[in-house]
């Protein structure tokens, strides 16, 4: 398959189309709206299911195989907030608090972007490593903590923010699911597969429909925050994505695995990070970081980024 064919394949997946439908619904001012409980239920389901599947895979993986990829992920988790912070200070010219807030988002990871990349890689015919969800959990936390540290150097209650991130629901569900999957293994999987595995992509499609509406309701803010933020929200992912692919390749991941790690590295958090930032850096402007991660970076990765990281992975690995 050539690059264009892959882009088409990605664009015409139910998930990407559902995201587009959500955007369209909001732009058309439709009264379509997901009840908050449905959104929360879907996110609980998705996070736990990712973790669980990863855990079952993990129970079949020798630990040594995990070592290098885990180190690579930690490296990404520490480097990305730095680049995010610096670029925000220099290129966007914002203050410490806003730069720290952005860095926390681009230092963490978006589980949905991870899933979209996984689906894409599998759709293309690769078989990404089964332990990748473990890496998602690993990538989620350190970036946020480091970014808050950068912003607060000296003052503030970092401890509280740290606790907040570690016991945040996304980490608890991901890691908890992972543990449960690892402990109950194939025998457990057999019982709950028709709930946590088979309908997974359908549920994700519905979730993306909602995400599309949320992202679109932020488009209006784009004008206020300006064109530079759009550049920030696309260049940084490209940089982090390429880095992720490369580091993944070095750590011995397969072509599919490197693609997915690239997408993870390119993604910006919008579940764990916003909550932590709002508590630890209340003076940062939510319009800035939410718009960048939700209305710029997420759609960019979903539509263009993932095929690009795949192309990079092929180019490096092939």
């Amino acid at each position: 398959m050539d690059a264009l064919e892959l882009l088409r394949l990605n664009l015409l997946s139910p998930m990407v189309l559902a995201f587009a439908l959500g955007v369209a619904a909001r732009l058309l001012k439709s009264d379509l709206a997901f009840p908050e409980a449905l959104y929360t239920a879907l996110s609980i389901y998705l996070l736990f299911a990712i973790g669980f599947k990863g855990g079952v895979e993990l129970s079949k993986t020798p630990v040594v195989l995990l070592l290098l990829p885990a180190l690579a992920t930690l490296f990404l988790g520490l480097l990305r907030p730095l680049s995010g912070y610096l670029l925000a200070r220099r290129f966007l010219g914002v203050g410490r608090a806003d730069a720290g807030a952005l860095a926390a988002h681009y230092g963490s990871v978006s589980a949905v972007t991870f899933l979209a990349a996984l689906t894409f890689a599998q759709g293309v015919g690769h078989r990404p490593e089964g332990f990748l969800p473990t890496l998602v959990a690993l990538l989620e936390v350190p970036g946020i903590v480091l970014a808050l540290f950068l912003a607060k150097r000296g003052g503030g209650n970092l401890g509280e923010a740290f606790r907040e991130v570690l016991t945040g629901k996304s980490v608890v569900l991901l890691l908890g699911g992972l543990l449960i999957g690892a402990l109950s293994g194939e025998a457990g999987m057999e019982r709950v597969k028709p709930f946590f595995v088979d309908p997974f992509y359908g549920a994700l499609t519905l979730f993306l429909l909602d995400l599309g509406m949320v992202a679109a309701s932020r488009f209006a803010a784009l004008k206020q925050v300006g064109f530079r933020l759009v550049l920030y929200g696309t260049l940084l992912p490209l940089l982090h994505g390429a880095l992720g692919v490369w580091v993944g390749h070095l750590a011995g991941l397969s072509l599919g695995g490197a693609t997915v790690l690239g997408a993870m590295s390119a993604s910006a958090s919008y579940i764990a990070a916003p909550a932590a930032v709002r508590i630890a850096l209340p003076e940062a402007n939510p319009s800035l970081y939410l718009t960048a991660s939700l209305a710029v970076t997420f759609p960019f990765n979903l539509v263009l980024g993932i095929p690009v990281y795949h192309a990079i992975a092929k180019w490096i690995g092939g």
Partner: protein, 100 residues
């Protein structure tokens, strides 16, 4: 029946603050509170999208001096950075001793 006059303080705030606010008002002397999830709009824009979290509407019946302490604390630590408003009303209750 004896009706006792007290103050009802209502706080509308972003929901992330719930735990903190509850701790604050209890520390300042409130014996109870009632919370209702809400959405709304003010000077900091619309608050109804899931991602930024919604608002909560917290109300607590307290003696006047506690009401003033709560408002003072909000003004000092919350009004500058967070989406929060607060207002006070006069209410009458039956069992006055329950609230002091």
């Amino acid at each position: 029946m004896d009706l006792v006059p007290l103050k009802l303080v209502t706080i509308v705030a972003e929901s992330l603050l719930e735990k903190k606010l509850v701790e604050e008002i209890q520390r300042l002397g409130a014996k109870g509170y009632t919370i209702v999830p809400a959405r709304g709009e003010g000077s900091r824009g619309m608050r109804s999208v899931d991602w930024e979290g919604q608002n909560i509407r917290l109300e607590t019946i307290v003696p006047e001096e506690v009401a003033l302490r709560i408002l003072a604390r909000l003004q000092e630590a919350y009004f500058p950075h967070y989406a929060v408003i607060a207002y006070v009303e006069n209410v009458w209750v039956v069992r006055g001793e329950k609230y002091v």
